[in-house]
Symmetry: C2
Amino acid sequence: MNIVLLSGGSGKRLWPLSNDIRSKQFIKIFKKEETNNTTADEVYESMVQRVYQQIKRADREAVVTVATSENQVSDLVNQLGDSVGISVEPCRRDTFPAIVLASAYLTDVLKVSPEEAVVVCPVDPYVEDDYFVALKDLAKQVDKGEANLVLMGIEPTYPSEKYGYIIPDTANHTARVKTFREKPTADVASAYIKEGALWNGGVFACKLKYVLERAHELIDFADYQDLYAKYDTLTSISFDYAVVEHEENIQVQRFAGSWKDLGTWNTLTEAMKDNVIGKGVMNSSCENVHILNEMDVPVLAMGLHDVVISASPEGILVSDKEESAHIKPFVDKFDQEIMFAEKSWGRYKVMDVETGSLTIKVTLKPGHSMSYHSHKLRDEVWVVICGEGRTIVDGYEQTVKAGDVITINAGCRHTVVAVSELKIVEVQLGKAINVADKETYQLDC
Amino acid sequence: MNIVLLSGGSGKRLWPLSNDIRSKQFIKIFKKEETNNTTADEVYESMVQRVYQQIKRADREAVVTVATSENQVSDLVNQLGDSVGISVEPCRRDTFPAIVLASAYLTDVLKVSPEEAVVVCPVDPYVEDDYFVALKDLAKQVDKGEANLVLMGIEPTYPSEKYGYIIPDTANHTARVKTFREKPTADVASAYIKEGALWNGGVFACKLKYVLERAHELIDFADYQDLYAKYDTLTSISFDYAVVEHEENIQVQRFAGSWKDLGTWNTLTEAMKDNVIGKGVMNSSCENVHILNEMDVPVLAMGLHDVVISASPEGILVSDKEESAHIKPFVDKFDQEIMFAEKSWGRYKVMDVETGSLTIKVTLKPGHSMSYHSHKLRDEVWVVICGEGRTIVDGYEQTVKAGDVITINAGCRHTVVAVSELKIVEVQLGKAINVADKETYQLDC
């Protein structure tokens, strides 16, 4: 099975654990199926890790490609390793360009035959393994050639106002699609469901060549490289508007398994097996309380009901679970710097912000390094607090260990390579400290 | 009026804002009466600051002495300045030795006549100005010489189980004390109140010589210096057990004004004028919610009722207000380092804890300095991030400013003097980092 996972933008509905650079699909909150391990990193996995494992259980040979933007590449490699394909969108242009780019990546870079089926689905459904078996069935249905597109229709469990609806022509497992309906009111949704309507979960399968043919009708491009180069000139348009609405020959396959959209704290905590992740204690009178704490200090909860508490270096949320769906406008008002990030090379955390200085803690994985770079407007002082490594400053290489101090003046080219896990307190000093103030260079040595 | 304020121990009932070294009386949560200022430090004052201002309004000439332990001296000087007298208990020995030491301090150090009255009261009542007028009246009653001790009896507002009761012989404003009752059950308390009983708020007045005479009967000492020197040999005993229980000639004066004991988050938040102190936002469906946030990142509260949220570098409390009285056993289990402190010279905050290193941020007020000291088991690296000062390292003096790095090896004597407000990131490095690893020296230069 060829599967393209659409990995969406950042979103703030799971603030403070998601932020402008960490999307919800990378938060590690799902307890792994089997584990004898003890650290949080070993016990918990993220949505994207969970989905990837599920796909591999359903189909060991699956070719998995994630369609996403540049700023998620670090997180993806960090969490999934090198075995996953990544179709990097140079900028955001909605689902049609993203799916076309990923399809071109499959045929032109991975050399998959255009005759093969591809399944496209969001990266963040919370589902069981049967869902991925159903995805394989979609691909098999495509192979039969009865329709140009085969959608997954999820059997509704309530008249939701959050989803679009698919109206099939029969109640059979596989049926022709009669029509689509936009997100309705609850009353209208009830009526649809009586007619036999299914939820549209944004999942479909088709032959690769089908996507590429539609693409060439709408976009003038030669191949993957060409499309990538002109990606920023493309019009933002969804796959539904560009393709599905104009297609007469569509089938739908019913899916009756468990399917959840974990977009808010309320739905997310329902999927958590442990009530506390991180340092947290609650007394016996707490009911239906979840604590997700990424800070080093403890959270104590007493006498709360139906509340989620989430703490990270970005902030602290304490919300009634129902109301947690409405945090976005409040979070949008927080004018905040990014306070932490996980990268393919390790992680960093902002420790202190002052006028004229910023102090961060950088942790590099063994064998990893920073880019060789310089800053125009700031000096830096590094104090190594753990591990061993090699620094290169203006071409001069030296080994460093805990206790060593490296001063880097503005303009100086510098990098560090971790030999063992390396932790550095970095004090940035200057009048205009800015992440954009960075020039990178090739290392000659 | 001579007034001795008993400043008690740390206590964890207001965790995470109180900790082993910051007592509740130093937390700044009370809005100042009049202010056009904007920073939290300018808008809010602590219990001890509030009480001190109230005493000065009631009696500009009041001689105020705080009886407390060494570890509160920094906070006291920091918050009250040099105008308050401090009777430092070398170790904790309950209220009788503490009151005797403070009385000896008044007569021997401040040269107050033993014939003068002294009023003794806890440092942390939440009261209005009329309370301090009533304290003056206690002293005046002592001057009349009708009784050896004059107590304040607070008119009960409900049958509390938290307080001892005083039974007067009449309902007059000033009456003789018939007897005392220990903390009763609510039923028994109701019966006492029907008999005309008053709460014992731990406030009394007497002549200084009365305390000293009782003291010489029980303790063999010459004067203040002698008592101070042998303080650790004294028996722990309360003033009630040592003196009040054996005294026949006691009067009580009724006090009908507002009087609150702000010992728990529930009672404390009742006294707060603002619902949010620090960075915090709540949505319109929050009711009776208080946020006290000492962190640099925001707290967002949604849909909560009767909840207190309190966050500091020590941890995060989210509690139903009623249940907040019961946090102590949970907090006792947190095995935690002190993460922040305010001192007379400035403040410090722990930024990061690693095996083999501890990173702190030190802020020194202009003109202040650290002691000249050394550590046996750790090296230190200082990075100056703000301000100007002078460091002395093994006798070698240099001026420092933002961006300067000072490395201090184990054994090296060092200090820094702030010229302007000075902020330093201090990285401590060593296998056994410990606050006790500190030797201090006289500076020759």
